[in-house]
């Protein structure tokens, strides 16, 4: 039976936004920790550590996110570890985010001129002190725009988790369209909700850039 896309459907749509946001949050948190560790390992002085980090990053980036998700849901399940959809989806998106954030942050660290390292080490700072006080504050400023850009991608890519049975915003839209058959209204609204989430992110990113620009002309 065909229903109309009304207030009830609208409320349902909005209620599923929480899964989109929750997944984004968990994946970004997990991805940040993993990405930071991978980025530092990728910059290690030891070729073996560097190589392993490089391998992990390239491997994850070279396969579809969907495949990582299948592995963490069906793969782990076959191996005897039965993860419910939310943890499995969080794990997959987190691993995927880590691989990309690692590359973004590594390149931001490398974009800090090597003379900054030279000056800092010539002042008898230890390597951790050079990172904390000299290089990371400058790298963070460089990393903000691409990191926010990636975060926006992450919000939208949470839609793939519908394949393991989670009903987030995109899947909810599909379900509602199946009973209302008003694709323009339904998906128009879905798109608008994504925009309402993503645009403030981009905007906040630009504001943050200005904050980190404090006192600087270039």
């Amino acid at each position: 039976m065909i229903e109309h896309f009304g207030a009830q459907e609208m409320l349902y749509l909005i209620s599923t936004v929480r899964w989109t946001l929750l997944l984004t949050l968990i994946a970004f948190a997990f991805g940040s920790v993993g990405g930071a560790v991978l980025a530092l390992l990728r910059l290690s002085r030891h070729p073996l550590i560097r190589g392993v980090a490089y391998g992990v990053i390239e491997l994850v980036q070279s396969v579809p996110v969907l495949m990582v998700l299948f592995l963490s849901y069906f793969g782990l399940s076959a191996a005897g570890i039965d993860l419910p959809p939310l943890p499995a989806a969080s794990l997959a998106l987190g691993v995927w985010a880590a691989a990309y954030l690692a590359d973004i942050w590594r390149s931001a660290i490398e974009a800090v001129p090597y003379q900054q390292w030279e000056a800092a080490s010539s002042l008898a700072l230890t390597t951790p002190q050079q990172y904390v006080h000299i290089v990371l504050p400058q790298a963070i400023r460089i990393a903000i725009p691409p990191t926010i850009g990636f975060l926006v991608q992450l919000v939208k890519n949470t839609s793939i988790v519908s394949v393991v049975g989670m009903v987030e915003l995109m899947r909810a839209g599909q379900l509602i369209n199946n009973v209302t058959f008003e694709p323009f209204a339904v998906f128009g609204m879905v798109g608008l909700i994504y925009f309402v989430i993503c645009f403030p992110l981009s905007y906040a990113g630009r504001k943050l850039e200005v904050v980190f620009h404090a006192g600087r002309r270039s």
Binding site: Q115, Q116, E118, A119, A120, S121, S122, L123, A124, L125, T126, T127, Q129, H133, I134, P137, Q138, R141, G215, R216, R217, S218
Partner: protein, 243 residues
């Protein structure tokens, strides 16, 4: 008493030997100017002294520290050796005051109040008392370089290295930096500098070292070396620099 001693130092990049056995002694309070063409090895030699460049043969000691690549020993060495670079290399995200106070706090554990007083003192010394809270990007090149000198001085080094510190500055700004260096020399700071400023070398340096093809080609008291060069290479170099 010698502060810096180089004994038969060799440095190679792969097959290419850029320093081919250099021995040099810098006494306390002495100002030694390294001159020579680009590629003669003078900057590389200077950077060997504080361990920024590893070297393959020979031995360098600075104020009793043997220079090698061990991170812990390098840090101990670098508490005693200040270096100023051609491109200033101030930390752009920190104010002038923070630039100066960072290393004494982190590397030497100097207390905040004491650190602030010392930072103001070195900044006054380079004539920039009013710039304590400014950011490097808001300073001229000459001012940035003077802050870089102040930042090194705040560590109370036993020797200061200067790597072509005026090469990125126009003549007007060069003067104010050289003035600061001259004052340091007069106060008895031990200094090793790589420079293209021949008049500065002649007037301020005690010893001039002319490097050529990775070797000390000619050396001696500044005036003598620059005014009566013994080798055709130095004669040609002096002529080209003065012209």
């Amino acid at each position: 008493m010698p502060v810096v001693v180089l004994e038969d130092v060799h440095k190679r990049y792969g097959q290419l030997e850029v320093i081919k056995g250099v021995s040099l002694t810098v006494e306390q309070g002495q100002v030694v100017a390294l001159i020579g063409r680009s590629g003669s090895g003078k900057s590389t030699l200077l950077r060997c002294i504080n361990g920024l460049e590893p070297f393959q043969g020979g031995k360098i000691t600075v104020a009793g520290h043997v220079v090698d690549q061990n991170p812990k020993r390098l840090r101990e060495l670098r508490k005693e050796v200040g270096i100023v670079f051609q491109s200033y290399n101030l930390f752009p995200h920190l104010t002038v005051g923070q630039n100066i106070m960072l290393a004494p706090r982190l590397a030497k554990g100097v207390k905040a109040a004491e650190n602030r007083v010392a930072a103001e003192e070195v900044l006054r010394h380079v004539g920039l008392s009013d710039k304590f809270d400014a950011y490097p990007d808001n300073l001229s090149g000459g001012q940035q370089q003077r802050v870089a000198i102040a930042r090194s001085l705040a560590m109370q080094p036993k020797v200061m290295l200067f790597d072509e510190v005026t090469s990125a500055l126009d003549p007007e700004l060069t003067g104010e930096v050289l003035l600061v260096m001259e004052r340091l020399a007069k106060e008895g700071m031990t200094m090793v500098l790589v420079t293209h400023e021949m008049s500065f070398a002649r007037n301020v340096a005690d010893v001039v070292v002319f490097m050529h093809q990775g070797l000390i080609w000619e050396t001696g008291p500044a005036r003598q070396v620059l005014e009566s060069p013994q080798t055709p290479e130095l004669r040609a170099f002096v002529k080209a620099e003065v012209a």
